[in-house]
């Protein structure tokens, strides 16, 4: 599915979006008004230039269009893997991008992300998972690492991981695991302008607290985190 198909399906009323170096930026018309559209395409491996293009566009939007909702389209294979990128502190540019998404929230910009194809580790952390809410298309790949690589690194038999993945969302790759654990709100069976508009309506009035742990417990995918956070909050002061 091409980016243009995605944009046409989500924004039938019109969009003006630029793609440069796998970075998407622009705006689109929806039934809820104009939204900023940004993100990455073609399984981008996020590097400094991409992170700074996204963060710069977010800052422009905050300054020039106060309150305009942000719609992130996520297709990232993770972070760029190179020595020159690490030399300049790639984690710093990704943190800067995450800070800009966070600032937009504090300044009253609702945000949602839609995983269109891939969402992997550092690339997903820096913007997709920073949005108020995340969604994924049905065939999207969401993961830290595939099970074969995980078997290699952890030295646990691949068959054993496959067996456990069938019952545990804790390390089974896939958007469904992230829904059960509270980090993705819902899986969209298909691209739909109506779904996007109702998601925007919900996100605009959303409480801005991070409630992913509660959702993970409600959906029975993450049974411990919520209680541990509560226990730390409620423990007697020293």
């Amino acid at each position: 599915m091409s980016l243009n198909d995605i944009l046409d399906s989500l924004f039938p009323a019109g969009h003006a979006v630029n793609v440069e170096n796998k970075v998407i930026s622009g705006e689109a018309t929806t039934a809820k008004g104009t939204v900023a559209v940004l993100g990455t395409t073609d399984a981008a491996a996020i590097d400094h230039a991409m992170a700074l293009a996204l963060s710069g566009f977010i800052l422009d939007t905050i300054e020039q269009h106060p309150g305009r909702p942000l719609v992130f389209l996520v297709d990232t294979s993770g972070q760029a893997l190179s020595r020159s990128q690490e030399l300049l502190c790639l984690n710093g540019s990704l943190a800067h991008l995450a800070s800009c998404v966070d600032l937009a929230r504090r300044q009253g910009h609702a945000s949602l992300s839609l995983v269109t194809a891939n969402a992997v580790s550092g690339g997903f952390l820096s913007f997709g998972l920073m949005a108020d809410r995340a969604y994924a298309l049905a065939d999207a790949q969401v993961r830290v690492m595939d099970l074969r690589a995980m078997a290699r690194v952890t030295k646990i038999a691949h068959e054993r991981l496959v067996e456990l993945a069938a019952t545990s969302p804790i390390f089974a790759p896939g958007a469904e695991s992230y829904v059960r654990m509270g980090a993705i709100e819902a899986i969209w069976p298909a691209l739909s302008a109506e779904r996007l508009v109702s998601a925007l309506e919900e996100v605009v009035i959303l409480d801005k607290q991070d409630i992913r742990q509660q959702l993970g417990l409600l959906r029975q995918g993450r049974l411990l985190a919520n209680d541990v956070v509560r226990a730390v909050l409620d423990a007697a002061a020293g």
Binding site: L59, N91, F171, R212, A231, G238
Partner: protein, 300 residues
């Protein structure tokens, strides 16, 4: 005054609990969810791996020079300090508590390779929650200071978390990056990054390089008392800024200029020369005080 070598306690070699004992005022350490009130990770048990009752992170109240502070200390010697479900939730809870109770600071002793792969999805989501909780604590006016000098450094998602903190205090032994050199070598080849070349790894990810480039606010000796003095000194002159466009615009400009100037470099030696260091090859040999003097003499 030069402290005697006998009096020095290496941060790098110490456990998380020993670091806290030397960092905080004597007798002020009060653990939240101590091992007796906690449980090891059931996800590790499912894989027949040994767990730890604190799941590799200690969270506590304490004091630093009589000021109330919260501290979070990752144990690099358990699963590489990696973030699993319980580990991550303890950190999130402490950061949220800080936003409510407003201690003078949160000291975040990072020693972690990032996500615990055995709990991969839970670890990734927990790091995302930590990222938001750090920014929420800071927005509530509570400085969050990252202390990096352990054997696992600050890598993966924890490298991002470190850079979301108010400041990073690092030792020469500390390392800070996103992907580990081994990962880059595996994927991109040994020509791209030779993870066995220890000197190169330090010139790309090590404490001196991060300090010279301004990614870390302070460079300290590999000594628990030096981290304590560094944190005290930093906090004495720091007021947490409110989140603002102006602040992030300034950061954006600095990062853009840096990328434009140094994008083609692949070794710290090249960056240091460009920063105005007359003898870049001498940097790895300089002691901490000489390096700080060198950095302070650089053109800005």
């Amino acid at each position: 005054m030069i402290p005697s070598l006998a009096a020095r306690h290496s941060w790098f070699e110490a456990t998380a609990r020993a670091r806290l004992a030397g960092l905080l005022d004597a007798g002020s350490f009060t653990e939240i969810l101590p091992p007796a009130d906690s449980q090891p990770s059931p996800h590790l048990a499912l894989l027949d791996l040994p767990g730890a009752f604190d799941d590799g992170v200690v969270v506590c109240h304490g004091q630093l020079e009589k000021k109330p502070i919260f501290a979070i200390a990752q144990e690099g010697q358990f699963m590489g300090g990696a973030v699993g479900e319980i580990h991550g939730a303890k950190i999130v809870g402490m950061l949220r508590r800080a936003a409510q109770e407003k201690p003078a600071a949160v000291l975040f002793l990072i020693d972690s390779g990032g996500v615990r792969l055995h709990e991969a999805n839970a670890g990734l989501i927990a790091i995302s929650e930590i990222m938001r909780a750090v920014l929420d604590a800071r927005a509530a006016g509570v400085p969050v200071i990252a202390l990096v000098g352990g054997s696992c450094g600050a890598f993966g998602g924890m490298g991002i978390v470190a850079k979301l903190c108010s400041a990073i205090i690092i030792s020469e032994e500390g390392r800070l990056a996103l992907s580990g050199p081994e990962v880059i070598e595996t994927v991109a080849g040994v020509e791209e990054f030779d993870s066995k070349d220890r000197a190169l790894v330090w010139r790309v990810t090590g404490g001196k390089h991060r300090y010279l480039m301004g990614d870390c606010a302070m460079l300290v000796e590999d000594d628990i008392a030096a981290f304590r003095r560094g944190a005290t000194e930093f906090l004495a002159s720091w007021t947490e800024p409110a989140p603002s466009v102006a602040h992030l615009r300034a950061g954006q400009q600095a990062l853009e200029h840096r990328l434009a100037a140094y994008a083609s470099y692949r070794d710290g030696l090249q960056v240091w020369a460009a920063l105005g260091v007359a003898e870049p090859e001498s940097v790895p040999l300089l002691d901490r005080d000489s390096l700080v003097a060198l950095k302070e003499g650089l053109p800005t």
